[in-house]
């Protein structure tokens, strides 16, 4: 078989596909609108940081030290504090969801604080129907409380207990604990999984629906040429879409990019190929745009969203789910790209992850090539 003949056919197919991409708004819409929508939705809409949480403080004790504690709550950027002397008022508001927690400073607070032997308790009531926020309030309150204690003991050195452990914590890689810093790289992974899968699954299903696939198959073109003719143009489009998402993430959300473009290209190329082949596989099996679309959402988007570790910590999932997540290629990509953004080049992470993704790619390709025979049955 003459190589030039093959290249000419491939050229014909790629040129045709490029024209179709440029003329048909739907693939451009997928490649550019989905990333923008996801960036805005998740970048702005989904924040795991707490800020200005509404907290009611019941001051049963009004002594200066109790007031000093309340002031440190008021100064904290995490809380939006309101004060009352009656607990009943806040209980009603908590039930109505108007505030997220109640802090009670009991009547004997200052008295017990004075007495070295005694423990001075404060009571925190949180809204367990939103466990995430409840947890955060607990932690932050403990933080504020500890800071205040330390401050108090500096002010009154005579009260400082001997041998108290002073913990200074440091957070590496995302020192501001800004959630955008790990959400944005995760979004890039999700966008790539979804865009890659949708691009190929929809366009190929369209060829089946319009009967052009049948006409194509009756020509001397080989099945590998048909697959490459689809993959190459959509790979380029998908990578442009990826690059835009990365740039927008860095510019709009000020996410640091500490790694190298080289590794970004390596890992995202491999992941993009997996997504594109998955899309081909879906459309070959479904042969209808609607079913292909739904299947892409279920196969590409949901597992990537839930099981990749992008939002939900894999190590805290039940073991069986953890085992399943090993089969989600996005899991490796999310880890890789988050590392790339926040920690920099760590080949010890990248190389095994990339190899695992390549293994996935080969499996998906082999299945696709096996399923996509040049026949209608």
């Amino acid at each position: 078989m003459n190589v030039f003949v093959i290249l000419r056919r491939l050229k014909g197919l790629i040129y045709k596909e490029t024209l179709q991409i440029l003329r048909d708004p739907s693939s451009l819409l997928i490649a550019f609108f989905i990333p923008v929508m996801f960036l805005f939705l998740y970048g702005y809409g989904l924040s795991l940081d707490i800020k200005d949480i509404k907290l009611g403080i019941v001051m049963e004790d009004t002594a200066p030290r109790a007031q000093s504690l309340v002031r440190s709550f008021m100064n904290s950027k995490y809380y939006d504090v309101r004060i009352d002397h009656n607990k009943k008022v806040f209980e009603k508001q908590l039930i109505a969801g108007k505030i997220k927690g109640i802090l009670v400073i009991p009547q004997d607070f200052s008295k017990k604080l004075q007495n070295k032997e005694d423990i001075a308790p404060i009571q925190l009531i949180t809204d367990g129907s939103d466990p995430n926020t409840a947890n955060l309030i607990q932690n932050y309150t403990r933080g504020v409380w500890q800071n205040w204690l330390i401050q108090e003991s500096y002010n009154r050195p005579q009260n400082q207990p001997i041998g108290q452990i002073n913990m200074i914590s440091r957070v590496w890689f995302n020192s501001e604990l800004k959630s955008a810093n790990f959400i944005i790289p995760g979004i890039i992974a999700i966008v790539m999984a979804l865009v890659g899968t949708l691009l190929t699954s929809l366009v190929l299903a369209r060829e089946w629906e319009r009967g052009t696939m049948e006409a194509l198959m009756a020509t001397p073109v080989t099945i590998v040429e048909i697959i490459l003719g689809k993959i190459i143009p959509y790979f380029i489009l998908g990578m442009i879409s990826m690059a835009l998402t990365v740039i927008a993430g860095i510019l709009l959300f000020e996410v640091p990019f500490r790694g190298s473009v080289f590794w970004l290209l390596i890992m995202s190329s491999v992941f993009m190929f997996i997504s594109l082949f998955l899309g081909l596989l879906i459309s070959t099996v479904t042969k209808s745009q609607f079913v292909a679309f739904m299947t892409s959402l279920i196969v590409a988007f949901l597992p990537t969203f839930i099981l990749s570790g992008f939002l939900f910590e894999i190590s805290s999932m039940p073991e069986i789910i953890q085992l399943i997540s090993v089969l989600i290629p996005a899991r490796y990509f999310v880890l890789g790209i988050q590392t790339l953004f926040l920690a920099g080049n760590v080949p010890e992470v990248f190389i095994p992850d990339t190899l695992k993704m390549i293994a996935f790619g080969i499996i998906v390709f082999l299945i696709t090539a096996k399923v996509t025979v040049k026949r209608l049955d």
Partner: protein, 578 residues
């Protein structure tokens, strides 16, 4: 010298999940130098056979060879010497004419001077030179079909496979395509032309007749006519109702098949030269019985064992429709615009009670638009339509209760079974209790649906789908019936049966409005309107339309001839106006 090109031995094809064979033990040979017509109703196995020759489907048993290459093992070699045009022409609608041609030139490795000269030749041949930069999606059906053909001919194939190339295309383009393909055929090239139009089959050099996966006949059309030689007659100059004459003729034991042709009735007899007398069929003193040339369909019906007879159980059970003195349907200047596009332009006509009125025209001409406005499914931009005195805009409910509607493709609920469909439609037409029960029982009996009661409508054979759709449309005794392409794709026997019911209903006073693209079916209509590019360009009975184009060149025009002439005249007139 013509030579054998395709050989098929004991070929069978069975699709997974289906009960029967799509193709059943087919043996045949196809030669170069001829157009081989592959004829049969929908679901007969035409497309399956063509796809198997193109080695897009594997045989379940038996084998196919093209130029000695085996379809299962040497698909690539076969695909290098054939060209295949699938049903939807296989064009990329968002590419221009020239871009489509370029793609196929690349795929078939045609370059340089050869490409230049081929493009020039093909564009001239298909008359597409002026449209090279137009998107394929913006071309008319006829032009798409020509472009599809041009894409197939960039590299001259040894075998050209055309799967229903003339469906949905206006009659002029159909004839042009035929002439083009006829010109192409030579001793080095064979053509297989799949079609559901039996009149197209008559023109083929060689014919393969398929029905339900079985090859009923292979050979020259003339050979098929031998079967029905001296058995086809026309009853002319009929006094009174031609439908009554047809019904009487069909109940006569000497007659196996009959149809209406304008004012006349055409029959096929059981034996050569033995036909009933005019008294027997009660056609009047002045009527005469004349021998006519046999047609393809006569032979097809004869092979299948004759038509269904003339008695319609449906019309026997149906009540007489009270007489309505004025025109029962009035369409006044209906116009429908979708944005800039005028789908129907100022359409006016009226229909009397007991008439069959046909709306005819190629796909996309606007007949369905007019139809939908008449049934109140589409709001007209301008104009009115009333049925039995009710305006569809002011009293849509009352007007609609007067009509039964059978939509294209028989729109039934595919997921419901036959019983559930009947229950549903009886319910929406306001039948309930004992009355509903009795009516459904009646329909099951008349249309012989008992064996399929539990079958999903989507899995029914096409003929039964059509029966079920008709039964759902007539359950509430409507005085007016709207039928949108009611016989599209069904086999001739089922079509006959359908028309027996319609004739019976009309004799009870039902008025029928029908769309069709089968010309011989248009002959059943008392009057018809020809719609072309949104305009009603002619209206009249079949004989009137034929007479209007009769000339020295066309001394005995068929209805199709009449339509082609009328469309040509319209085109000329428009050019003159420009």
């Amino acid at each position: 010298m013509t030579k054998p090109l395709v050989k098929i031995n004991n070929l069978s094809k069975r699709f997974p999940k289906s009960n029967g064979f799509a193709l059943n033990n087919i043996n045949l040979e196809i030669c170069t130098g001829a157009i081989t017509g592959l004829v049969g109703p929908d679901g007969a196995g035409k497309s399956t056979l063509i796809r198997m020759i193109a080695s897009l489907l594997l045989p379940t048993s038996g084998n196919v060879t093209v130029n000695e290459f085996d379809s299962a093992k040497e698909a690539h070699k076969i695909q290098s010497i054939i060209s295949y045009m699938p049903q939807k022409f296989g064009l990329y609608e968002d590419l221009t004419v020239i871009e489509n041609l370029n793609l196929y030139a690349d795929l078939k490795n045609i370059t340089g001077n050869e490409k230049e000269s081929q493009f020039k030749r093909l564009l001239k041949f298909t008359d597409l030179e002026r449209f090279t930069s137009r998107l394929a999606g913006d071309l008319s059906g006829g032009m798409k079909q020509k472009l599809g053909l041009a894409c197939c001919l960039i590299k001259t194939p040894q075998l050209l496979l055309l799967d229903e190339p003339s469906v949905g295309v206006d009659p002029i383009s159909r004839r042009e395509l035929w002439t083009m393909v006829k010109e192409l055929v030579n001793d080095e090239m064979g053509v297989i032309w799949g079609t559901a139009y039996l009149d197209e089959a008559e023109k083929c050099d060689d014919v393969l007749l398929l029905n339900e996966g079985n090859l009923l006949f292979q050979g020259k059309p003339d050979k098929l006519y031998e079967r029905v030689k001296n058995r086809t007659f026309q009853i002319q100059n009929i006094e009174g109702s031609n439908r009554k004459v047809l019904t009487t003729a069909l109940t006569n034991s000497k007659v196996i098949d009959g149809i209406i042709q304008g004012r006349s009735v055409r029959i096929v007899t059981r034996e050569e030269s033995v036909f009933p007398s005019t008294q027997e069929i009660d056609s009047g003193l002045d009527s005469r019985i004349v021998k006519v040339a046999p047609r393809f369909e006569d032979a097809f019906i004869d092979i299948l064992g004759g038509g269904p007879g003339g008695i319609s159980l449906l019309s026997e059970e149906m009540l007489n429709i009270p007489e309505y003195k004025e025109d029962i349907i009035n369409v006044n200047c209906l116009t429908k615009a979708f944005g800039d596009f005028i789908a129907a332009n100022n359409i006016c006509f009226s229909v009397k009670q007991g008439e069959i009125f046909g709306l005819l025209g190629p796909n996309g001409a606007g007949k369905s638009t007019v139809f939908k406005m008449m049934c109140g499914l589409l709001k007209p931009t301008n104009g009115t339509a009333d049925i039995a005195g009710y305006d569809l805009r002011t009293a849509p409910g009352e007007a609609r209760s007067k009509l039964g509607y059978m939509a294209q493709k028989f729109s039934l609920y595919d997921n419901l079974n036959v019983q559930q469909n009947l229950n549903f439609f009886a319910g929406i037409y306001g039948l309930s209790g004992r009355k509903k029960h009795k009516k459904i029982e009646q329909m099951i009996k008349i249309f012989d649906l008992k064996q399929y009661l539990e079958t999903s409508a989507g899995d029914l054979p096409l003929g039964f789908k059509q029966r079920l759709a008709l039964s759902c449309a007539v359950m509430h005794n409507p005085p007016v019936l709207f039928l949108d392409e009611p016989t599209s794709g069904v086999d001739p026997i089922t079509r006959r049966e359908f028309w027996v019911h319609i004739n019976g209903l009309v004799q009870k006073g039902v008025t029928v409005v029908i769309t069709t693209h089968f010309m011989d079916e248009a002959e059943y209509c008392d009057r018809m309107g020809l719609i072309y590019q949104g305009n009603l360009i002619a209206i009249g009975s079949s004989d009137e339309l034929k007479n209007s184009v009769r000339s020295e060149i066309l001394p005995d025009p068929t209805l199709e001839d009449a339509f082609i002439e009328l469309i040509k005249a319209e085109n000329l007139q428009r050019q003159a106006l420009k």
